[in-house]
Amino acid sequence: MLLYLVRRLLYVIPIGLAVSAICFSLVFLAPGDPLSAVLPADASLELIEKLKADYGFDRPIPVQFGKWVARAVQGDLGISIATGRPVNSELARAISNTFVLAFFACSFGFTLGLVLGFIAGYWNGTWLDKVVTSLAVAGVSVPHYWLGMVLVIIFSVFFNWLPATGMGAGGSSEWAWDWEHLQFVILPAVTLSVIPTAIITRTVRALVADILSREFVTALIAKGLSDRGVFWHVVKNAAPTALAVMGIQLGYLLGGSILVETVFAWPGTGFLLSVAIFQRDLPLLQGTILFLALFFVFLNLLVDMVQTLLDPRIRRT
């Protein structure tokens, strides 16, 4: 098991490098000169050369990549072309904002998913199961950006119960864990949690139904195992897979928040990404994607390791 864990850990290095290479190569997919959108119209040739040198665009591509990775490893992701501010500082604020959103979306989605999944699995085949299952299919089928719009129409426009957009009057810099600020997170978090909720519901339902249908469990129940005992048995057996799915869902949530953050003007990584795309701010684009992708790689690693520790029988490659 230790050997497996070490191998799994080492495997992250080539993957991480390759992921960085893809992020880096996005520059070359982009049509046109990345500096074009921001160079002053009357920039002299010397200035253009100087800016290119500042951004390192005058070097051969492998050298550029090497330097980029070397700097990225040290935590320096370059300077945003559009704003002239370090990508790091732009990213840091956005990450903390996205984490706030993800925290609520996960807390809400995971809890609801676990409860619903357990109910559906426990009363497998009943009408309750059917309702929950249908809801879960609807949950994975709904375009969440549309759902966000509908929630805004209902809760902000019609009833004026909840604020529609943003992170509060003070922006992210004055975020506090009180109701004045928390009300802003409700609609985006609920919207963002729909898919994970549905997926966790489906996973847990299948796990619970499967465990309960195993012969030795039915035998135990027949022998008079208490409800509590059954419950713990199910939890123990379902936990590794459920945890793994939740971990992966957290990654998707972060990577996929762009649409929801756009609808709600939530100043997180997704919002930053869409700004970077439309301003053709490539250092910012690369930096944001690199962070999200590496975070996802890391999360996968963590999930594998936790799962291995919880249930040594599992060997994922």
Binding site: A41, R85, T165
Partner: protein, 531 residues
């Protein structure tokens, strides 16, 4: 202090959920259309919305617009300069006498050295404070200004490349920043993190991409314009429906460019819609680059005749006026053009046929447009409607949709630049309050990239002569007449596809009182009182 801000900020947002909290500080929260807080380097980006919110708030120019009247067209009044004269012997030299006692927010004096320092930041290439990013936002708006020199502590001489009667108007675009504040880091990007000017509002803090907070400058040199509100919070919100949502749910007190579709809802919820025609034109600027179909005057005129402007005004809920040129008939610069811009699809088809286009050979036009932006109104639906209308006369339009900031940059590189993707037109709305902005920069053959925004590469000696005449005429009436001749020729040439003039709809909460919507791109926030 911190708590106070929180309370004040949360007031409106929480009004339906929690009992209203008393606030000691009055705060005005504005939703801008820009995608980011405009640069606070003293020379804002994001077009005139930038000047509106991070220019004239924090800084002063030597001259400024009088924004105190909602009825009269705004005029140039003294700013940091008390008065100015042109050198009688040499019409390329202007003498500006500075106001005594004006101070920057850091307490240092606004004197001739400070003013020259700010001219040098964009004009003197070897000055340490020279910065290419600032240059891009400034020199295209004052193209004849060559430099400035100190005569004495309160007198500055400005040198121009040619006699130019527009200089006092152009200089509203050069904002005077504190040299002492710059000297702390010798870097404008750092300066932008806590900018220091002499304007009616002082910088409090900036959260990039989220908000800019300003507070009143109680020591402002013009006692009449000391702000009556304690704080202003400016929030970038490029998406129109996001702005409306935020206003409806009480996160804002004021939004720029209220979308016409939301007006009914906003009114029914007690918000006020203010609007006032101002010198603005929403056009397609057409390429005159040889080889482009729009280089043919018949095509340009046909395009002008193919647009049903009444429908566009209707689309905008009435918050616009049909354009017959860069300025409306009756304006001092109107000049009675012989070509009448109106909706006449039959004539348009005829002109196109003469130019060699028809059902067998449709005319294809590529246009660069933005998704949002200062003065751009509702760019996507308006352009889509024009696309439909042009299709009726056989013109097929393809769009290149950019973000506002990128479109603005593309405007400066001109139609010939490969980065323009071969576009035949660009949709950048512009101000017509200043003759340089309204005319000179578009038609003067020298104003092509990289100097200014003669985007379409117009190289017409007749235009050059008319522009030079207007520039060199220093008397008011005579200059208007010269500008009228220039405008008439521009309309006859149909160098633009003129569409509408904006009326600047803003949606404002009932708590905002004292606001006077000037007939101008810029608006004064100082008289506003929050109830």
């Amino acid at each position: 202090m911190h708590t106070m801000k929180l309370l004040a900020g949360a007031f409106a947002a929480a009004q339906l959920l929690a009992p209203p909290l008393a606030s000691a500080q009055s705060v005005l929260r504005i939703g801008m259309t820009a995608a980011d807080v405009p640069a606070t380097t003293s020379q804002p980006d994001s077009g005139f919305e930038g000047n509106r919110f991070t220019g004239i708030t924090l800084f002063d120019g030597l001259t400024q617009w009088d924004l105190s009247s909602a009825d009269k067209p705004s005029v140039i009044i003294p700013g940091l300069a008390e008065s100015w004269t042109i050198d009688a012997k040499d019409n390329t030299k202007w003498i500006f006498r500075l106001r005594k006692g004006a101070k920057f927010h850091d307490g240092t004096d606004v004197n001739a050295d400070a003013v020259v320092f700010n001219f040098d930041k964009v004009l003197k290439k070897d000055a340490p404070q020279y910065d290419a990013k600032l240059v891009a936002q400034t020199t295209p708006r004052m193209p004849t200004v060559m430099g400035a020199r100190k005569i004495d502590d309160l007198t500055v001489e400005v040198q121009t490349s040619e006699p130019d009667s527009f200089v006092p108007i152009n200089l509203t675009n050069l904002f005077i920043a504190s040299p002492a504040a710059w000297a702390k880091t010798k870097n404008w990007a750092e300066f932008a993190k806590s900018p220091v000017g002499s304007g009616p509002w002082k910088f409090v803090r900036l959260v990039p991409r989220e908000r800019l907070e300003l507070e009143k400058n109680t020591g402002y040199w013009d006692a009449k314009r000391v702000p009556k509100t304690d704080r202003v919070v400016l929030i970038p919100m490029p998406d129109a429906s996001t702005r409306v949502n935020a206003l409806l749910s009480g996160q804002l007190d004021w939004i720029e460019a209220a979308p016409p579709d939301a007006v009914a809802q906003l009114k029914s919820r007690g918000f006020e819609i203010t609007s006032n025609p101002y010198p603005h034109t929403w056009p397609w600027q057409l390429s005159h680059v040889p080889g482009h179909p729009t280089a043919d005057i018949r095509v340009r005129q046909a395009m002008n005749l193919a647009i049903n402007r009444d429908e566009i005004v209707k689309l905008l809920g009435g918050y616009a006026a049909p354009a017959k040129g860069a300025v409306p008939p009756g304006h001092p610069w109107w000049g009675n053009p012989k070509f009448d811009i109106k909706y006449d699809p039959d004539q348009a088809k005829k002109l196109l046929a003469e130019a060699g286009y028809g059902p067998g050979k449709p005319l294809k036009v590529k246009v660069q447009i933005s998704q949002s932006g200062s003065g751009q109104m509702l760019p996507l639906p308006m352009n889509e409607l024009m696309q439909q209308q042009l299709k009726q006369v056989g013109i097929e339009v393809e769009f290149d949709v950019l973000v506002w900031e990128s479109l603005f940059n593309n405007w400066r590189i001109g139609a010939k630049d490969p980065k323009s993707n071969g576009a035949h037109a660009i949709n950048v709305s512009f101000a017509t309050q200043d003759p340089f902005f309204a005319f000179a920069r578009f038609y003067d053959s020298r104003m092509v990239a990289p100097r200014s925004v003669n985007w379409g590469w117009i190289q017409d000696p007749q235009f050059d002569k008319l522009v030079a005449d207007a520039r060199g005429t220093f008397g008011g009436k005579e200059r208007d007449a010269a500008l009228g001749r220039l405008h008439a020729y521009a309309v006859e040439q149909s160098s633009f596809l003129f569409v509408v003039h904006d009326t600047g709809p803003r949606a404002i909460s009932k708590r905002v009182t004292g606001y006077v919507q000037a007939k101008n791109w810029f608006q004064d926030l100082t008289p506003i009182v929050m109830k």
